[in-house]
């Protein structure tokens, strides 16, 4: 038996719920349980197992930065005045004294300059927002690349995508609140986007702004959306996201003893709780240091919003950068007038069509994949990105699209920093936005397949020791040594891909089978997805290869200086007692 049970902590399964001698914690717990009856729910969850891997903590960054957002946000609301009432600034910042501005801008300046720690909190809030959305995206990428979104977690993936959307909207509304020149320019662009909506666009704009842009209503309206409506939905969705995570139990990487049926890791109490709690403090700490040292959104330099002013480098926050980039690279003149009505493709396409479409595609990914593969099984073991070459390539392709659009959104900054021409960057992007993702798809897929081959090489012929031996005949060969059983098992702990095939187009009586067209499409897609993949070797292939290796070793054994290869690596070193060694 590989598990020495005497050393393994006893889990909830073997221990009774009531401790024989309740300590102080125990008596408190029974007091609470007498009233709340939580013990039944808690008995499993307190020692719930969470697998340990750095990539499982990316979502935690998002969670903790959201907590930081709530804390700092509450602080800011104590002074912020979301009003567009006109005042003349008489606060501490010299350069704006005597300048007319809205009360929201004036209160933002008050928080920044007259409230101790106010500027720190503002900056922490803004940095936390940038990190919140960035970490959601990194988390999303991890989930996609490892296939964690497969059944039964599709709905949690959809919730995650909605969180990303809401987080972005939350960020945009917050960015607009100080009513400074930069955010006002952004709001005006948003007004342009609304107006580009066919038929109802102008009315939507007038309703949002309470009349003609900019009106006096937009800041209070965005404020309530920012501090109540979206955070409320975010909280509810985060709760659902976490509940589902607990219900499904976390996915884990395959490895010895880690199967589809179990989850191996540290119990919630104490190790996981300590690590997660400690990580909260670290996220909070990093954001605090960034807020203290790195300037973000210096509204006093932008000055109050004035619809006649503008600054170079007018950009949205990073997460709105990619639609902005798409806006920039639309070729000149994409606008049509039909029956006297204007349709602005140049705005609709990059803002109203492509981003929502991207979001829908993203949300549908697990469903599309599930349909193509016809896989109805539950999956709790993660796939290495290389073992799903097509999925990995699709994700990299989407990332490339995103990245190029994003870079296009900063084309003016790229131009001055790299001494390029914005025109040429734009021309390049117009082509690259199509070619780049296609190229990325192709390269990534081939790359993954090569990595799969390399894995099989390792399984069949061992790893390359870097030791060159010369045979008596003068032939040089590199010595390969078998990898450890743990490693070998981990490499083979994946499923064989099964290409979906259409049975027969017609049933026995010669009538076309229902859905046969969609089935054929499905078969084609399945073959596109899987047929290039390299499958793991069979047991017979492995045995044959190992037999071959043993034979070689026997031949070597006859030499004067048998080389087992371990003279030159650290395997021998590791086997000595006093040297600490690392797991894996």
């Amino acid at each position: 038996m590989s598990v020495d049970t005497s050393k393994v902590a006893t889990s909830n399964r073997t221990n009774a719920a009531t401790a024989s001698k309740p300590g102080r914690a125990g008596s408190l717990a029974s007091w609470a349980d007498d009233r709340l009856g939580l013990a039944t729910a808690m008995k499993k969850n307190l020692r719930k197992v969470f697998p340990d891997h750095w990539s499982f903590m990316l979502g935690e960054i998002a969670l903790w930065s959201f907590v930081v957002l709530l804390l700092t946000g509450v602080f800011l609301t104590l002074w912020f005045n979301p009003s567009m009432g006109h005042v003349t600034y008489e606060g501490s910042y010299d350069q704006l004294r005597g300048v007319g501005m809205s009360e929201s801008m004036a209160s933002t300046l008050h928080i920044s300059f007259d409230v101790r720690g106010g500027l720190l909190m503002r900056q922490m809030h803004h940095w936390a927002a940038a990190i919140f959305i960035a970490s959601m995206m990194v988390h999303l990428l991890r989930v996609a690349f490892t296939g964690a979104y497969r059944k039964p977690r599709e709905l949690n993936w959809v919730i995650g995508c909605l969180l990303l959307l809401l987080g972005t909207l939350e960020g945009f509304t917050g960015y607009s609140l100080p009513d400074d020149l930069l955010s006002g320019t952004g709001v005006r662009a948003a007004d342009g986007f609304l107006k580009a909506t066919p038929v109802a666009g102008s009315y939507m704009s007038f309703l949002l702004f309470g009349g003609e842009f900019p009106g006096e209503s937009i800041i209070p309206r965005l404020y309530i959306v920012h501090v109540l409506l979206i955070p409320g939905i975010l909280l509810a969705l985060i709760a659902a996201h976490m509940l589902l995570l607990v219900y499904h139990k976390h996915t884990q990487w395959p490895g010895p003893g880690r199967t589809e049926q179990n989850v191996v890791g540290f119990p919630m109490l104490p190790v996981y709780a300590a690590k997660a709690g400690g990580f909260f403090f670290m996220v909070f700490g990093v954001i605090a240091i960034m807020g203290g040292l790195l300037s973000i959104n210096p509204v006093w330099k932008f000055g109050p919003y004035d619809p006649t002013k503008v600054t170079a480098g007018s950009q949205p926050d990073w997460y709105m950068g990619w639609p902005d980039g798409l806006l920039r690279i639309i070729p000149t003149g994409w606008e049509t007038v039909i029956f006297g009505y204007t349709i602005s493709w140049n705005v609709m396409l990059p803002i109203l069509i492509v981003p929502p479409m991207m979001l829908v595609v993203l949300m549908l990914l697990p469903f599309i994949e599930g349909w193509i593969t016809g896989d109805k099984r539950d999956h709790h073991l993660l796939q290495r990105p290389r073992n799903a070459p097509t999925r990995t390539a699709v994700m990299v392709s989407l990332m490339t699209f995103y990245g190029l659009a994003w870079a296009a959104g900063g084309n003016d900054i790229i131009a001055i920093k790299l001494h390029l021409s914005i025109n040429q960057i734009t021309y390049f992007m117009r082509v690259a936005i199509f070619l780049g993702p296609a190229l990325a798809f192709w390269i990534t897929r081939r790359w993954c397949i090569s990595l799969q081959r390399a894995d099989n090489e390792k399984l069949l012929h061992g790893y390359e020791t870097g030791i060159i031996t010369r045979s008596p005949e003068g032939q040089y060969a590199e010595r390969h040594l078998p990898i450890t059983e743990t490693k070998a098992y981990t490499l083979t702990a994946r499923e064989r891909d099964e290409v979906f095939t259409v049975g027969s187009d017609t049933d026995a009586s010669g009538v076309a089978a229902p859905n046969s067209r969609s089935e054929r499409l499905r078969a084609r897609l399945s073959s596109w997805m899987y047929s290039h993949n390299v499958q793991k070797p069979t047991r017979a292939e492995l045995e044959e290869a190992h037999h071959h290796a043993e034979h070689e070793a026997e031949l070597q054994a006859g030499l004067d200086h048998p080389v087992d290869g371990h003279q030159f690596d650290d395997h021998r070193l590791r086997d000595t007692d006093d040297v600490p060694l690392r797991d894996h």
């Binding site: 750095w54 903590m57 960054i61 350069q95 004294r97 005597g98 170079a312 480098g313 797991d583």
Partner: protein, 290 residues
């Protein structure tokens, strides 16, 4: 603890990147500025007569400028890539010469997209002579006096007013190209509006007055001399104001902020996650009681 060090290392490396350049630039400008004040000749007593100056200026002009601007500053009407080889200097005035030659933009190394600031080729006396000569070709804006762009002789209250008014004029007329922080910005076809950090007030004034290269004019009929002075006062006050919020990340707006959020924020925190989830050191010994 290891993580802490690593994060700090990242911070400083990235801080050094964008800011070191700026610091070196500022240092360079400060040095050149102070050298300028040290070596600028005492104007009062050694002032050569105007005719002498013009004559000397013409000499210098013929040697260094006439190839592009013509023997008499009439310009070389060759148009290449849409740019005139050397525009006519009749009527550009002494201010234009003082700006172009004083900031080292002229003489140009070669005609190109944009003339950059570089160490001046001529000393102050020679610049003055050239300016006098070009001014003699036709009436144009003269070199401003210090009183034109200094707010030193204003009262405290007037100064305050000048700075906030200057800020509003700056945001209306200048930030579109030069950015809210005066950090500069991109222009079409590879052109750019240069950074205003550390540029001497006189040159800012002259640039507004004469519209060098692609920059539009802000002649006195457009922005009055007092308004120009206010803009300069605002820029000066920006440079004197401490950065209340910490390092400015280049003062380029949300693009550099986003970059830092990813590199420092996400980079640092993912590093922390790797540390948290990494396996601890193992011992080969087994526990005595186990």
């Amino acid at each position: 603890m290891r993580l802490l060090n690593r994060t700090a290392g990242r911070l400083s490396r990235h801080r050094r990147g964008p800011l070191a350049g700026l610091a070196v630039l500022l240092l360079g400008l400060v040095i050149s500025g102070s050298l300028y004040t040290v070596f600028s000749p005492a104007q009062a007593d050694s002032q050569p007569s105007e005719t002498e100056q013009v004559a000397k200026g013409k000499e210098l002009f013929l040697a260094s400028c006439s190839f592009c601007h013509g023997q008499n500053g009439e310009g070389v009407p060759t148009v290449r890539d849409g740019y005139q080889l050397g525009p006519s200097l009749v009527g550009v005035g002494a201010a234009a010469v003082d700006f172009q030659v004083g900031t080292g933009r002229m003489p140009m190394a070669q005609p190109g997209q944009q003339v950059q600031r570089k160490p001046p080729v001529f000393n102050d006396e020679e610049v003055a002579a050239l300016a006098a000569y070009v001014a003699s070709l036709g009436p144009g804006p003269a070199i401003p006096n210090e009183s034109d762009y200094s707010i030193d002789d204003l009262s405290e209250e007037e100064r305050q007013e000048a700075i906030s008014r200057g800020g509003q004029i700056f945001l209306t007329n200048c930030t579109a190209c030069h950015n809210f922080n005066g950090a500069g910005g991109a222009m079409p076809r590879g052109g750019y509006a240069p950074s205003l950090h550390g540029v001497e007030p006189k040159y800012i004034f002259e640039a507004m007055l004469t519209g060098p290269q692609q920059m539009p004019n802000f002649s006195n009929g457009n922005l009055s001399p007092d308004e120009k002075r206010d803009v300069i006062a605002y820029l000066g006050s920006l440079e004197e104001t401490p950065e209340y919020a910490g390092f400015t990340l280049g003062g380029l707006g949300p693009v550099s902020e986003g970059l830092f959020a990813w590199v420092v924020g996400i980079g640092g925190l993912v590093g922390a996650a790797v540390w948290i989830a990494s396996h601890t050191t193992r011992s080969k010994k087994s526990k005595v009681n186990a």
